[in-house]
Amino acid sequence: MATKVFVPRETSAVSVGADNVAVAIAREAKKSGESIELVRNGSWGATWLEPMVEVDVGGVRIVYGNVSEDDVAGLFASGFLAGGEHAKRVGPLMEIPYLIKQDRWTFFRCGLIDPLSIDEFRKTQGFNAIEKAFEIGAEAVIESVTASGLRGRGGAGFPAGIKWRTAADTHSDQKYIACNADEGDSGTFSDRLLMEGDPLCLIEGMMIAGFAVGASKGYIYLRSEYPLTHSILERAIAKARESGWLGEDIQGSGFDFDIELHLGAGSYVCGEETAMLESLEGRRGVVRAKPPLPAISGLFGAPTVVNNVVTLASVPNIVNLGGARYASFGVERSKGTLAFQLAGNIKRGGMVEKAFGLTLRELIEDWGGGTASGRPVKAVQVGGPLGAYLPIEQLDTVLDYEAFSAIGAMIGHGGIVVFDDTVNMAEQARFAMEFCAIESCGKCTPCRIGSTRGVEVIDRMVADVDREANYDLLVELCNTMEDASLCAMGGMTPYPVRSVLKYFAEDFASPRGIEA
């Protein structure tokens, strides 16, 4: 029987040579007359081990990490098809603490199966939830999502059940599901991992949302920076159509639902839900004033549920296992799990799906193993470019939406970017303003002009021109942007800036920062 060998087809793995490794394995197997079945799975999210090759040895998956194409001949010589010893051998998958200590709810299939196999998807509960939804009805589905406590995983944390209820209760002949896959925050890649590793799960989540609120059409707005994801999603949608899981009268249920895949065009602000809707309508990604809420009047003026990828992909298991089960994970008002992403200067970067309630320190030290450079951690930015920079004194903060908001920070989409002590934080504060100036849609004045003025004020502070007066000016500018911007772009750019003023003010004292 052919031995199964898994090599991820996932952006990070491929970016460090996984395609070449797959080719080398196929070639070496042929040369040595070994019979193998090469599976291009998704990534488990242990990105630091990529390219991570697994061999199925009698039902136990044996992991070889950081495999390069030059290792392949040696691996065959060491008998890796039987799990043989080799310098790159990590051990059985189910003994890797990084993975087994997680709470895999949304990502349980990621890495496990061939993401484009309807058959393997079905064998791992795939489409069970939509079948159950047909059975229990739309009302019960919304109740289940509400009971789960699931909040929007894109960053804003709005309760999904309430959004669905609003769209369901709004009468309209046409409604839409719009999946926000414009994952623009630096340090985040969980949407991408899910779409590359288990795209059918997202499709099922969108179908359930459509069934629950009465929408027959879904859109996925995918950022153009993810070309591999695009090709995988395209194929997954086509396979779902071919097998009757998308289209008219799905599996004889009478329910019609189809998905259109749209590409973004390199704009960060299009991750804001109303700017995304504008872009989906073919226009400049300029944010809309709210109200009206998109759930009442969204895409083309129709009621639209806008949810992030991970939010939608969390739904199938909520329907399968019940909202109460999901709500049993987490703390306080932060129920369930979040896909935390460890990025930047970190030894073991990757994705960790874990119930809310652990601390930043546990993630960075226990999972992440500290910095990649081996130098001390100086700052950690949580929640993307609009998130605060936290000093090491704050690492014991519990990861829950409210605890973060209490310290002027946010969890956002769960990205955690680690910096070592060589970083100059004045430079990071300047970048926050600069990024806002580059990406502002231009609709509201505080964001459009405030960000440019912010860069100038910081430059003067660093150059030691009227430092105190400029400090006051910067604080005032932050207040104006925060209070008067239309959306989170201008409204939250002050978060990282303020956090630098609060925790790392000494870095403004000299343009050379810590070397002074």
Partner: protein, 156 residues
């Protein structure tokens, strides 16, 4: 449509592929960019005509999105991630190195190559990240960058 070559019939065909729906403008511009690398002024006029939009509408969309260029790019586009996770792993130093090595400042082009910033490739656990044409690379040290560019030049 060959390199830099705008061709009216070919653009009409792309527009037709999207059923000439005006709400598909961003998608049509992506398809055009994939084909010829940029959006010439003549294409803006044609898009306005065939989608029943004003030229200002089309120009507004072209100028809003970073992906759409109004000048032809070099043979290859090298994009270096400038966002925080890559900054934490030396993307600023890598950018300076790339400008020197390629002989092109950021945001600029020569016949061979365009050098552009990009804000996050979602490869943040393998920083610093670089995209060359449509391929993403991770853990790009200055040495690996040179190897990638050499491979590109050999391929020319």
């Amino acid at each position: 449509m060959t390199a830099n070559g705008y061709n009216k019939e070919a653009l009409s065909q792309i527009i037709g592929d999207f059923d000439a729906r005006p709400e598909m403008l961003v998608q049509i511009l992506q398809a055009l960019t994939k084909r010829i690398g940029w959006v010439p002024e003549d294409a803006v006029r044609q898009l306005a005509d065939e989608l029943n939009l004003s030229r200002a509408d089309v120009h507004g969309v072209v100028s809003f999105y970073h992906d759409f260029r109004t000048t032809p790019p070099g043979k290859h586009i090298v994009r270096i991630c400038q966002a925080e996770a890559c900054q934490a792993m030396g993307s600023r130093e890598l950018t300076t190195h790339a400008e020197q090595m390629l002989g092109v400042p950021m945001h600029d082009s020569n016949d061979d190559v365009s050098l552009e910033p990009i804000y996050c490739l979602g490869n943040c656990a393998c920083s610093p990240a670089v995209m060359i044409d449509q391929k993403t690379y991770g853990r790009v040290s200055t040495q690996r960058f040179d190897e990638l560019v050499d491979a590109l030049r050999e391929g020319n």
